[in-house]
């Protein structure tokens, strides 16, 4: 395997560059996935049947926590990649750990929020609106959950094998995934919550 030392570790082999481009294309598909969910949400948002509307059930406090936590985690994973490029494995692992912890906090708040939705009568089967709301949030939440396990497996690999072209590549791709989840959250925050609360 040819290693090009003039490039950052995560780009240093041909296969690494292929992996990163491949993941960008996957993100293109993810944009369409969430785009479709948003299309469905906007179509069904006023079709609440006998159930509550968004303004009835959305709460600002958990929303603010979720948004702040996810934005910060996107910042820390960026710092982790920066530390990785400096070759500082320990700092990188710290930032990685913080990111995953913040992800866990986000997920806990979201579970709390789902519980709240359920108790105020906005279950999955209540109306078309609640179904698409919970499906959209749930798809994002499932991505975060998957990301937590994925991130954990990368932390374990970096600890065991150190920073190699392979582990650096995996870490970088994970950071792309995590930033992307933040982008999706920004749209959820703006066009599901704030638009609903407005």
């Amino acid at each position: 395997m040819k290693i090009d030392n003039s490039l950052p570790l995560e780009y240093s082999t041909g296969q690494n560059q292929i992996n990163i481009l491949g993941f960008w294309i996957f993100i293109g598909a993810e944009i369409m996935l969430f785009g479709t969910l948003f299309a469905a949400y906007f179509t069904l948002v006023d079709r609440t049947g006998n159930g509550p509307t968004g303004a009835d059930i959305f709460e600002i406090a958990p929303l603010l926590i979720e948004t702040f936590v996810l934005l910060t985690s996107s910042f820390t994973i960026g710092l982790a990649i920066h530390a990785m490029r400096l070759g500082k494995q320990k700092a990188m692992m710290t930032f990685f750990g913080i990111t995953l912890l913040l992800g866990l906090v986000f997920l806990s708040v979201e579970i709390f929020e789902f519980n709240h939705f359920y108790h105020v009568g906005a279950g999955l089967q209540t109306s078309a609106f609640t179904a698409i709301l919970l499906t959209t949030l749930g798809t994002h939440g499932a991505h975060v959950t998957f990301g937590l396990f994925w991130g954990l497996s990368i932390v374990l690999q970096v600890r065991k094998r150190g920073l190699t072209p392979e582990t650096a590549n995996k870490s970088f791709i994970f950071s792309l995934y995590w930033h992307f989840l933040d982008v999706v959250w920004i749209f959820i925050f703006s066009f599901i919550y704030l638009k609903g609360l407005m």
């Binding site: 996957f26 785009g35 049947g49």
Partner: protein, 646 residues
């Protein structure tokens, strides 16, 4: 016993019991045969665990041919039922099931793998690569497709076939009107196969963008590779829509949500909307690789370069964008206003322009060419006029005001068959004859091949031209019978005769494969057609590393230049070649996905949870595994090359 009642077929008939026995006997015969000839190890090592794009391509090809016969059998039954008025060969329920599976099988499990077969086999060779970007992902794509196909195919003997049409419009496809698990099969089988297709899309875009031979800029890629790039771009952006739609449909059926119901704010039309947001680009996913194949074949057998390379590329890129802008034309009659319909009418008619550009480019390629009529060329020449009939009737359907007359009649059925059969099926059969020597090292018999091409193309006209007229007379699609007073009998009998013709044509192709395998000469060159692109520059059949030395490219027809203008394709010494290792994980993961889908269909939640964990375990295994591939040594390369007569 109650537990097993759910697996019973809700509308049994003697034909289904016969099929059950036939399936059981076939499975026993395959297992016994493999055991008797001691082929289990061979099957596992060489095929089930392979990550080689050529072998995966061949497996796609075999699946596509099998599914062609399944879908073809459905078609014959439908045409037989409609051949005479008031026929009682099939009852209404059985007829519904058959037209539903015919559509799904032909589009998703026949046309798609047929295309994937040639994309897998040809694209890496055309760009001078060793394999695709992610070989193991490629194997996983195949196994997901295959397991999805198998899942759908067991539906009619376990629990009941889907019966709401291949479009499965809600509320018909909802629990209220489709009580059997049939539509669950539809949702889950398409979901699994669709995931595989999405992965293929990502894989091939990356391959084409990053793994081209030195010197091959984007505008020097062969036309089939271009069509594959554009097709995969459509796949990547269209299939997530299907994923979401199927997810919502599955939740409606299994978790009692209200996306597409008619109560609690549900909106049944949204399903039709999303289905076609995916469904229309899907049409172009099918047709663009076919256009690529025709471009290769027409240029090869006109003995000249393709006319209008840049306009070919440009028209495909425009088609790929426009294909996402026209979906509403599938339901002009659903109630949206004149403004919406007009917008989508205009985009629909606009898409005929780049398609027309391509037709003219092929005609100009033929013009002043030295045309050689071989089987693949014959299919291509027959394609142009028949496809044009299908295409212009599409423009008729695209006019929203006029569509109120044609909608859901046999006119529509005639239109899309006249587009898809010459467009996709002829192209794939042409490619089958064209690439057969590259795949297996011998040619299919030309005489039988040409008779087959004529029989199939004339059957297309005989089977589908009458439908234009019966459709305009008012025969609705998907009706299982009609009364004698309608006067549709004669036209439908003609269609039935055409369907028989199809059956004969496909039997000829099978016979040709048998005949040529036994008798055809193995002593052919690696370039039997005097072709123009890189895949013909290596041996037939292709060694596992594709090219001993990575080719150097300087034009869109590098191999032609090498033959005629003294361009040096292979310069330098042999070097050791890095290849990916085989892996059983994709196959095992496919099997787990099958179990996952099957338990999901029947709402058996404990197996669903276990298999979900199994899927993630496979992914974790892959993540922690250290797999750096292996090297083929220079000695081994020399040995292979000498034995192939280099």
């Amino acid at each position: 016993m109650d537990y097993f009642d759910r697996f019973a077929v809700p509308h049994p008939s003697p034909a289904i019991y016969v099929s059950m026995v036939a399936i059981g006997l076939t499975v026993i015969a395959i297992i016994a045969g493999l055991t008797y000839f001691k082929k289990w190890g061979y099957l596992w090592r060489e095929w089930l665990t392979t990550v080689d794009h050529k072998r995966i391509g061949i497996m796609y090809l075999i699946s596509a041919l099998l599914m062609l016969f399944r879908g073809g059998a459905d078609a014959i039954m439908m045409r037989a039922q409609l051949a005479v008025p008031e026929n009682t060969l099939l009852d209404a329920q059985h007829y519904n099931e058959i037209f539903t599976t015919h559509g799904i099988v032909m589009i998703i499990f026949m046309a798609m793998p047929f295309i994937m077969a040639f994309m897998n086999f040809v694209v890496p060779l055309q760009i001078g690569a060793r394999d695709v970007a992610f070989p193991r992902l490629n194997a996983l794509s195949f196994w997901l497709f295959f397991m999805g196909a198998m899942l759908l195919n067991i539906s009619f003997v376990v629990g009941g076939s889907p019966d709401a049409g291949w479009t499965s419009y809600f509320p018909l496809a909802g629990n209220e009107f489709s009580e059997s698990v049939g539509t669950n099969y539809y949702m889950l089988a398409l979901q699994i196969a669709g995931l595989g297709t999405l992965m293929t899309g990502i894989n091939f875009i990356t391959t084409i963008l990053k793994m081209r031979a030195p010197g091959m800029t984007l505008m020097k890629m062969p036309m089939f590779t271009w069509s594959a790039l554009v097709t995969n771009a459509i796949i990547v952006f269209a299939f997530p829509v299907l994923t979401v739609a199927l997810l919502m449909g599955t939740m409606d059926r299994l978790f009692a949500t209200n996306f597409f119901t008619t109560a609690n704010g549900g909106m049944d039309m949204l399903w039709a909307n999303f289905f076609w947001v995916w469904g229309h680009p899907e049409v172009y996913i099918l047709i663009l690789p076919a256009f690529g194949i025709y471009s290769e074949i027409i240029s090869t057998f006109s003995r000249r370069n393709l006319y209008g390379y840049k306009s070919m590329v440009g028209s495909m890129v425009i088609i790929s964008l426009l294909s996402f802008l026209v979906w509403t034309h599938h339901f002009f009659t659903m109630g949206q206003g004149a403004l919406t319909n007009s917008i989508f009418s205009i985009t629909t008619m606009a898409i005929a322009v780049p398609t027309g550009v391509k037709i003219f480019n092929w005609l100009f390629t033929l013009w002043k060419g030295k045309i050689v009529i071989t089987t693949p060329m014959l299919y291509s020449l027959l394609f142009i006029p028949i496809f044009t009939i299908g295409g212009v009737t599409g423009v008729m359907l695209g006019m929203s005001a006029a569509d109120y007359q044609y909608h859901n009649t046999m006119f529509l059925v005639a239109h899309f068959h006249m587009v898809i059969i010459p467009g996709v099926v002829f192209a794939m059969l042409a490619a089958l004859h064209y690439y057969w020597p590259k795949m297996f090292g011998f040619k299919l018999n030309e005489k039988i091949g040409k008779v087959g091409a004529w029989v199939i193309s004339m059957s297309t006209l005989l089977a589908f031209m009458p439908m234009f007229f019966s459709g305009l007379d008012g025969q609705a699609r998907r009706m299982y019978t009609y009364s004698e007073s309608t006067g549709f009998g004669f036209l439908n009998m003609l269609s039935f005769i055409g369907a028989i013709g199809f059956a004969i044509g496909f039997c000829l192709i099978v016979y040709n494969i048998y005949y040529s395998t036994r008798y055809a000469s193995r002593d052919i060159s690696s370039d039997p057609w005097d072709a123009r692109s890189l895949e013909w520059a290596t041996h037939s059949p292709v060694p596992e590393y594709n090219f001993a030395i990575t080719p150097q490219v300087n034009s869109a027809e590098a191999f032609w230049d090498a033959k005629k203008h003294g361009h040096e394709l292979f310069t330098g010494e042999y070097e050791k070649i890095h290849m990916p290792n085989n892996s059983g994980v994709p196959f095992i993961m496919g099997c787990i996905f099958f179990a996952w889908g099957f338990s999901f269909i029947f709402g058996m939640w404990i197996p669903v949870i276990i298999s979900t964990i199994g899927i993630f375990a496979c992914m974790a295994l892959r993540s922690f595994e250290k797999d750096h591939g292996r090297y083929i040594s220079v000695n081994e390369i020399k040995k292979t090359e000498t034995s192939r007569g280099a």
